[in-house]
Amino acid sequence: MNAVHAGYGGADILNGVDLAVGKPEVAVIVGPNGAGKSTLLKAIFGLLVVNRGSVDFDGTDITNAAPQKLVTAGMSFVPQERNVFETLTVEENLEMGAFTRRDGVNAQIEKIYELFSPLRDKRRQPAGELSGGQRQMVAMGRALMIEPKLLLLDEPTAGLSPKFMGDIFSQIIAITKIGVSVIMVEQNAKQALRIADRGYVLVAGTNRYTDTGPNLLADPEVAKSFLGD
């Protein structure tokens, strides 16, 4: 995406943001609260109006395209909150992820169970009854049902215990190994940047620092301002 200005209809929250991710790579967006990280993801996925600038996907301009179109184009989004259908079972949640697919649904469900093994036993349980970590797996599994080229994750480790955090990050690496690119917004900056091929620090709606994750971690200025101790 290039020089994106976007917002919720009132004041712009994003004021000129640039971001790019190749395939398959992990791009991590970090920054203080209110910097516009979640807004950025929503702008990419067509959930907000982009007032200026453009968003490209695989060579096509997708600025302000409807979410359903983006799903068919191979992009998936996992929101931070309310990201599962609570009254539907785990398996039904996955089936809903595959709504736009006509074939290979069962095979893909099997792959998801291989990737997130605790879900297999819970397949007939309503997603609302699962723990936070399991719900996050369902949410990501649902997004992976269309075998997307690009996965957008909004704070996947929010509210999870440290053990699950590590699990989620290894699962994200596993996802990239299958060939899916990931753009991830994270509050736990230190852990997230460790696995980042590209790291973007966002402050007050614009880019502040851009580099690979490990480089950002090693940079004393970045570490001091944004990463705590």
Binding site: V71, T72, G97, R142, A143
Partner: protein, 334 residues
């Protein structure tokens, strides 16, 4: 024994009939509530329009000489269901969808549906007048009687053919709905959208298709409920007002957005209503000879006089809202 037969006729059968009608209407209301997030006050009129469509089609069939072993009104039912489904979609596109596109508050949609109610009432009166209609002017209504083998039972269990058809239809409709919602992709998508509409959009679910399906199901069931009720009694143009309150009571009792709740709620409201207007003193009659010397048994024990029958669903509605607003099946609270 006669009294037991009386009870079966006046309570079990009558309660099932009216309960099924309420259930058919309530399912449509609850689906619209869950997926479109507003109280569709025009639902009673969808049922009335559906009944009138069936009446007209039945008259047409009779003109053309098409007959069968079932009442002509029942044969006209598929036509009426399709017509009402199309009408429901038409109403949505004309009135509700433009409002939704402007992100109005839900109460605005409720007001719009009240406007639609008045409009449909007017249109029906314009074309069909204000007279009460009967489906059975040309043919006769079949009445089945079942004689019980007990010696003491001189009275028979009476059930009419339209009543049998209604119960059979309701059972089949409930089963179809169940399989649709739990097994089919589109049914699951409806449940998903009712659960979390934003996530449904994000997941790529075709929300437009789900909305269409909701109106089709609601319209079809409304037409069936209206037509089958009119086959049982008569068709009055102001049918909608007398149906609307019980149907909303049933919807809320069952839990807003819960289709199975709507069915349970409809039957419950139907039975409570029937039990309230039933003359319980009839059941005391066998004991009259036993207590004759001691005291006089009352001849009339009725909780609610028949003319005030509408009080019952109103009372149920208020009671549920006070004590358990989420309903039996824990629906949503708006």
């Amino acid at each position: 024994m006669n009294e037991l037969v009386f009870f079966v006729n006046k309570v079990l059968i009558a309660g099932s009939i009216i309960g099924s009608i309420y259930a058919l209407g309530a399912v449509g209301v609850t689906l619209v509530f869950g997926i479109l997030r507003f109280a569709h006050f025009a639902h009673g009129d969808l049922m009335t329009v559906g009944a009138f469509a069936a009446l007209v089609t039945a008259a047409l069939f009779q003109q053309l000489g098409i007959t069968a072993s079932v009442p002509t009104g029942f044969m006209a039912l598929p036509v009426a269901m399709i017509f009402t489904a199309a009408l429901a979609i038409g109403l949505d596109r004309t009135f509700y969808r433009p409002l939704r596109a402007n992100n109005v508050a839900p109460v605005v949609l409720v007001m719009a549906s009240i406007g639609v109610t008045l409009m449909l009432q007017g249109v029906v009166r314009l074309f069909a007048g204000t007279a009460t209609r009967n489906f059975f002017t040309v043919e006769d209504k079949d009445i089945y009687t079942v004689a019980l083998p007990f010696e003491l039972a001189q009275k028979k269990i009476v059930i009419t053919e339209p009543q049998v058809l209604l119960i059979v239809f309701t059972v089949i409709a409930v089963l179809c709905l169940h399989f649709f919602l739990s097994r089919s992709r589109l049914g699951k998508a409806m449940r998903a959208m009712s659960d979390n509409p934003d996530l449904a959009r994000i997941s790529g679910i075709n929300t437009e298709l789900v909305v269409w399906t909701t109106w089709i199901i609601a319209g079809m069931l409304a037409a069936a409920g209206g037509t089958l009720l009119s086959l049982d009694v008569t068709l009055k143009p102001d049918l909608s007002f007398s149906l609307l309150l019980p149907i909303f009571a049933a919807t809320i009792v069952g839990g807003i957005g819960q289709p199975y709740g709507a069915i349970a709620g409809g039957l419950m409201v139907g039975f409570v209503e029937t039990l309230s207007v039933f003359n319980w003193a009839v059941l005391l009659r066998p004991f009259r000879s036993l207590t004759a010397e001691l005291f006089e048994l009352p001849t009339r024990v009725v909780f609610v006089p028949t003319e005030y029958k509408i009080v019952v669903p109103f009372f149920i509605l208020v009671a549920v809202l006070i004590w358990r607003p989420t309903g039996i099946f824990k629906g949503r609270l708006f």
